[in-house]
C-alpha cells in the first residue's frame, strides 16, 4: 500500500539497524523512552526490538491517554452514561477501561445508551438527530485529539445545538514528562518525542528537555522506519555529545505546530490548576477543562460530577509501568489477575497501553523463536 509500505521496507530497516549497532557502545546501557503509546504499539507490532542491539532498552512512557485516566474519572463517566436521558458517546478503547464497579461495555449491556464514535463530530451528528435526548461526549486524549473536541464545540455553538456536552479529560504532554524527569527512580538517556501531539504543539515545547535536563529528544513518526530512524538520530546525538530537539517527522510536524488548532483550543479550553494522573498522582496544569465561554457545554457542570477519587486496586502496578520503572511483565499481576480480557489496570486495555502491547504482540520466548525459514 502506497505511503505505508515505503516506511516498512525491510532492506532499509536492516541498513538503519546496522548503523545503530555501529554507534552502540557495547559496554554501555542505553535507556530510551518512547513517550507516546502509539510508538509502543508500533514497536511491538513490527517487532522493532528484534532489530536493536541488546544494549538499547526501550522504556514505555505515559503517552497513552486511556491509560493515564484515573479510575474516578471513569466512574464519573459511567454515572453520566447511566442517566436515562443521556446518549453517551466515546472512542472504542474507552469501552473496556475498568472503573471501580465495571466498565462501559457492561453498563451498555445493562441498558445504558452508549455509542462508540470515531470522532466527536459523530457525537454532534447524533445530537442533531436526537433533539429530545442529551448527548455527552467522553473526551480523552492529549493535544492530538483536543482540537477536534474544540472544533466540535465551536460548531455546536455556531449551529445552536444545545443538547450536547463534553466530559473533558484532555491532558497535556509536557507536564507528565517533566514530572518523570524530576522523578528520582528513573534514569533515562533520551526521548522519542510524540509525533501526533507535535503536529499540534510543534517541537518548541520540548526544548526544556535538552536545556534543563540534558536529554536529547527526537520527535518521531509512527511507521516502523520512522522509529528506527529516530533511534538512530538519538544514538548519533549521544555519540557526538550533542543534546537537542530534532524533528524526524518533518513530513507532518511543523516546528511551530498547527497554529489554527492551537487557537481553537485556546478558545474552548483552559488549563486546570491540577489533574490526577493514574500512577503519577496530581500534576499541576497538566489537563484541560472547558473554558467559561463554553461552560454551557461542560458535562461536569451540567451533571455536577462530584470529582471523586478512587484508589487503584492494591495489586495494580500501572503507576510503576507508566513511569517506566517496571517492565509490563514485572508487574505482580501481569498475565495472571490482569489480562486483556480481564484488565485490572488501564495499561492492559488500550491497544496503546504498554501491558496490552506486550501481552498481545511481545509475549514470546525469544530463544525459542526459530530462524525465518
Amino acid at each position: 500500500m502506497k505511503y505505508v509500505d515505503e516506511f516498512r521496507n525491510a532492506e532499509i530497516a536492516r541498513a538503519v539497524a546496522a548503523e545503530i549497532a555501529a554507534l552502540t557502545d557495547p559496554h554501555r546501557h542505553y535507556k530510551i523512552m518512547e513517550v507516546c503509546g502509539g510508538h509502543t504499539h508500533t514497536i511491538y507490532r513490527h517487532g522493532i526490538k528484534d532489530l536493536l542491539p541488546d544494549q538499547i532498552e526501550l522504556v514505555h512512557g505515559p503517552g497513552c491517554p486511556v491509560c493515564v485516566l484515573p479510575m474516578g474519572r471513569v466512574d464519573e463517566g459511567i454515572e453520566i452514561a447511566e442517566r436515562p436521558e443521556v446518549i453517551f458517546t466515546c472512542f472504542g478503547d474507552m469501552m473496556r477501561v475498568p472503573g471501580s464497579k465495571g466498565n462501559l461495555l457492561e453498563v451498555k449491556a445493562q441498558g445504558a445508551d452508549i455509542r462508540m464514535v470515531y470522532s466527536p463530530l459523530d457525537a454532534l451528528r447524533i445530537a442533531r438527530d436526537n433533539p429530545d435526548r442529551e448527548v455527552v461526549f467522553y473526551a480523552i486524549g492529549f493535544e492530538t485529539t483536543a482540537p477536534s473536541t474544540a472544533l466540535t464545540l465551536q460548531r455546536a455553538k455556531k449551529e445552536g445545538i444545545e443538547n450536547i456536552s463534553v466530559f473533558c479529560n484532555h491532558v497535556t504532554i509536557v507536564p507528565p514528562v517533566r514530572a518523570l524527569l524530576d522523578s528520582p527512580d528513573l534514569r533515562l538517556d533520551a526521548f522519542i518525542g510524540p509525533g501526533h501531539v507535535s503536529t499540534v504543539i510543534g517541537c518548541r515545547p520540548y526544548e526544556f528537555m535538552p536545556k534543563d535536563y540534558g536529554k536529547p529528544c527526537v520527535v518521531a513518526g509512527f511507521e516502523p522506519l520512522d522509529l528506527l530512524q529516530s533511534i538512530l538520530m538519538l544514538m548519533r546525538q549521544l555519540d557526538e555529545g550533542r543534546c537537542e530537539v530534532e524533528n524526524q517527522y518533518g513530513r507532518v510536524v511543523l516546528w511551530e505546530g498547527n497554529l489554527q488548532a492551537l487557537k481553537s483550543m485556546a478558545e474552548v479550553f483552559e488549563l486546570r490548576p491540577y489533574f490526577e494522573w493514574r500512577g503519577l498522582g496530581f500534576i499541576a496544569q497538566s489537563a484541560l477543562k472547558i473554558s467559561p465561554a463554553y461552560a454551557a457545554f461542560d458535562a461536569e457542570l451540567r451533571y455536577s460530577t462530584p470529582g471523586v477519587r478512587v484508589a487503584d486496586p492494591k495489586a495494580c502496578q500501572c503507576g510503576e509501568v507508566l513511569k517506566g520503572v517496571l517492565k509490563p511483565h514485572e508487574c505482580r499481576v501481569f498475565g495472571t489477575a490482569c489480562t486483556p480480557d480481564h484488565p485490572l489496570g488501564a495499561l492492559m486495555v488500550s491497544s496503546e497501553g504498554a501491558c496490552a502491547a506486550y501481552y498481545n504482540f511481545g509475549r514470546k520466548s525469544f530463544q525459542k523463536v526459530g530462524a525465518r525459514e
Binding site: G47, K49, E330, G335
Partner: protein, 359 residues
Amino acid sequence: MSDQREQRVLDALEQARRRQPKFTAPRIDMSHGAGGKATHKLIEGLLLPALDNPALAPLSDAALLPFGDAQFALTTDSFVVRPLVFPGGSIGELAVNGTVNDLAVSGATPLGLSVALIIEEGLETEVLTYQVETMASAANQAAVSIVTGDTKVVERDKGDGLYIITTGVGVGDPEVSLSAASVRPGDKILCSGTLGDHGAAILIARGDLELEAEVRSDTQPLTSLVKALKDSAGPGLRFMRDPTRGGVGTVLNELARDSGFGVALWEEKLPVQDVVHGACEILGIDPLYVANEGKLLAVVAPETADSALEALRNSKGGEEASIIGEVREEPARMVLMHTQFGGTRMIDMLVGDPLPRIC
C-alpha cells in the same frame, strides 16, 4: 535475572492458557459475540461443560456423527448482519454459503439445508422476496437444496428486519481425515485468497465511518476450492477451516492450541487487498482478525503444498491463494508472525472487539 523472571511469567501465562476457561461475566455484552476470546469463554466455559459430548467436543465447523459405516456432518449458523444487502452479497446468500462452507471445510458433501427466518413486523415483502431469491440462487450454485424451514414474525423493533438461521447436513468423505491432531511440524499453511474482504465491506457499507471505498464481500461457496484441494493434496490434506468471524488470526490460534505445535506466519505473504489494508490502517484493526465469508485456510503436508497451491490458484475464487506460513515445533501453542519489517511478534486471539455485527 530479568530474563528468568520474564520466562517465569511466560510459563505462568502458558499454564493459564491451558486451563479450561470459566465464564464469570454477570451479563452478556457485545464482546461475547465478536468471535475472539470472550466468545471462546462463552462457548468453552458455559456451553461446552453443560452440553458435553464427544461429537461436540472438538468444536469444529461441523459435528461428525457416525451412522453405520458412514459419517454425517451437521452444522448450524445464524445470521444477524446489518445492512441486509451490501456490496458483493446479501444476508440470504451469506446464510446459505456460510453453512455450505462449514460442511465443505469439514470434508463433507452437503445433502440438504434447513432455513429459519425471524422476520420483524413491517419488513417490506419486496425485501423478503429478494432475500429468498438470493438464498435460492446461492443454494443452486452450491448444488444443495433447502429442504425444510420455519418462519417467525417478531414485533417491530425486536429485530433488524430479518435474521436467518441455517442448518446443514452432509455426508463425510471416508477418504479424508481432517483434524488439528493430524498436523505435523513442517506442514504448510495455505490461504485461498485475500483477507478481511467481507468484514471490511460490511464496515464500510454501514456508513458509520464515512469511509468510501470499493470493497465487496467475498461470500461464495467453497465447495469447488475444497474439491481442488482434496484432489491435489489427497491424504496430505490435514486440516481445513473457514475463517469467518474472528478471522485467520483466531483460526490459527485454535490450530496452534489444538495441535500443540507453533504456527509461523510471514507478513509479506498475507494476501490483503490494498483497499482493505488501507481501511484497516485507518481504523486501527488488523486484517488477520477481520471476517471472511468465502476463504478457506488449509494445512497440507510440505510435499503436496506446491501442487495444492496451484490447484487453488486454478480454481474460481482461489486466484490469489498463497502459502502464508508453516507449522513448527516451537513456540508451542503459539502463533508467531515474522513481520515484513524484519521483526517478530505474536498473534494472539482477539480480545474485545468494537466492530459491529457482520454475519
